[in-house]
């Protein structure tokens, strides 16, 4: 961390970079950005935007369960809970047939939000959980940044090993199966990974908008790219740029960092739509 602080002081001699919390937040954005970019591309490929949204919303119940069990820091419980939920949803999908997934996912989403609110609002103390809804990037601590770094490393390792399999399954499951890929296992693994990544980042980005941060850069990159390499490159660049720009803008406008970042990503998405229309 000392090295990072020194680097920021050296190369970014601005007013905002004097504050330690801004240095932390900047590092967090640089870690979360690429992670979300590469996850997002695959989520969009798999048409799982709704699924990741549900996982985000279900974090509320995860927090509630953590609080019920008396944990100070609900993160661990939230991660376990969302992974469990991801498996449950994929099982439901399998058992009921794949045609009606959005109904199932929608139902799970609503139930989880309701359950979370009911438990957390017991005794009228819901306000202290408000930070989960909006996200508070500036309060991130060194320990939590380290945790993010580990998650990013995990995702990168998983991606080097599994990316091709994920990709094939997302293009067409039957084709993947004929190439000897255990489709259900791969799908479930991907669901769990999505759940874990979304949940790990949720305290800092916010339940309400985390899905936009996951989907928008990938959706924008998708409009502009012709192959996988471009797709990932553009997506990573957009998340990094909108992350840093959003963070700085939120500093000067004193707005919530997560939401500002999402707005920047949305601008990119709009531009990509215009480019696509012009190309077509």
């Amino acid at each position: 961390m000392e090295i990072w602080y020194a680097l920021v002081d050296r190369f970014l001699p601005f007013a905002w970079s004097h504050y330690t919390f801004m240095k932390n937040a900047l590092l967090a954005v640089l870690l979360v950005g690429p992670m979300f970019a590469i996850m997002g591309t695959m989520v969009v490929n798999n048409r799982m935007a709704f699924f990741s949204d549900t996982i985000g919303h279900s974090a509320l119940t995860g927090i509630a369960v953590g609080v019920l069990l008396g944990f100070q820091d609900p993160l661990l419980i939230m991660v376990i809970f969302s992974a469990f939920l991801a498996v449950a949803i994929s099982l439901l999908k399998m058992l009921t047939g794949a045609s009606s997934t959005d109904t199932i996912i929608g139902a799970v989403s609503a139930v989880m939000v309701a359950l979370g609110i009911v438990i957390l609002s017991r005794g009228g103390s819901f306000n202290k959980f408000l930070r989960f809804l909006v996200g508070d990037l500036l309060s991130i601590t060194t320990k939590e940044i380290l945790f993010l770094a580990f998650t990013l490393a995990g995702v990168i390792v998983l991606w080097t090993v599994m990316f091709n399999k994920f990709l094939l399954v997302s293009v067409n499951p039957s084709l993947a199966l004929s190439r000897g890929i255990p489709v259900r296992l791969v799908e479930t693994l991907f669901c769990i990974t999505t759940a874990v990544v979304v949940t790990v980042a949720i305290q800092w980005v916010g339940i309400l908008i985390i899905n936009s941060f996951l989907i928008l850069p990938a959706a924008a990159a998708r409009n502009m790219s012709r192959n996988m390499q471009q797709y990932h490159l553009i997506s990573v660049l957009i998340t990094l740029f909108s992350g840093v720009a959003g963070l700085l803008a939120s500093y000067y406008w004193s707005t919530a960092a997560g939401a500002t970042i999402v707005l920047f990503a949305a601008v990119f998405y709009l531009c990509s739509l215009l480019i696509k229309l012009k190309l077509a």
Binding site: N164, S174, L175, L177, A221, R226, N227, M228
Partner: protein, 273 residues
């Protein structure tokens, strides 16, 4: 042992997989019995065409062989030494259901199937050449950098065929690979498959509704409706009493069609059906 027998034995040694055997094969989905009691031997170097009315269970049979849905009975792959082994199965679906907007190039697709190197990090020169060589087999090397969603139906099928051929499969499953493609495209595709079978000594199972083409290119025809109704050379199947009686009007019409085509084709050495 007769001369023919010796040749057969020699050929057996040359191929990886000699026989795909289905014994008492059946599929039950939910409470409906879709296929029952199917007994088939599929030999290498042979193009077996699967025909039958809609809902006869042709696609289901392929999917069951592929392992996508559960089946009853026995499915075994025997190689030259009569040993069971796991075969390499190539599969070309009826139509590839995928999101047209996905930014994935033909090269990406190849790479995802064949290499461990994550596609999103780009491709090595060597792999690029390899993929181009695979596409050249189906005369599609110019499609290498095209986006998968931009390909036409015929082009996509050829790319899929090229993918199914690498690594060289023991068994190739083609599920109506050319439905919805114009006559010329169909002819090209069948020629291609016919040549591949001879060149790579593959066993091919092909589902088709196009009886004319099938009767010219297939070695064996299996008429499927819930179970194997009739099995034999094109000549045998299309003149079978049983088939004519059960599926009469359709078959007769088709056969007339075939005869007509046969006359034209016989001039340039095609099989007269």
């Amino acid at each position: 042992m007769s001369y023919a027998g010796v040749i057969q034995k020699l050929q057996k040694k040359s191929c990886g997989l000699c026989c795909t055997r289905l014994k008492g094969f059946g599929v039950v989905l939910g409470k409906t019995e879709i296929l029952r009691d199917i007994n088939l031997h599929i030999h290498c170097g042979e193009l077996t065409a699967l025909i039958g009315p809609n809902g006869a269970g042709k696609t289901t049979l392929l999917r069951a062989i592929l392992g996508e849905i559960r089946h009853t009975g026995e499915l075994s792959f025997l190689d030259a030494e009569d040993c069971r082994r796991n075969p390499v199965v190539g599969y070309v679906p009826q139509r590839l259901d995928f999101d047209q907007g996905t930014p994935i190039s033909v090269l990406d697709m190849f790479s995802a199937c064949l290499s461990f190197w994550p596609v999103c990090l780009g491709h090595s020169r060597r792999f690029r050449d390899h993929a181009a060589a695979c596409l050249a087999v189906v005369q599609a090397e110019h499609l290498l950098d095209r986006r998968l969603g931009d390909l036409s139906g015929g082009e996509l099928q050829r790319v899929l065929l090229a993918m199914a051929l690498d690594p060289c499969p023991d068994l190739l499953l083609l599920d109506e690979p050319v439905s919805g493609i114009d006559v010329q495209g169909k002819e090209l595709f069948y020629e291609l498959v016919s040549n591949l079978r001879k060149r790579f000594d593959l066993s091919i199972i092909l589902v088709s509704h196009d009886w004319t083409l099938v009767s010219r290119h297939a070695d064996r025809i299996v008429f499927l409706d819930r179970t194997v109704q009739c099995c034999g050379t094109p000549q045998e199947v299309f003149t079978s009493e049983k088939i004519l009686r059960s599926y009469g009007p359709v078959v007769v019409e088709q056969i007339d069609h075939i005869r007509l085509r046969g006359k034209i084709v016989s001039g340039i050495g095609g099989t007269d059906a």
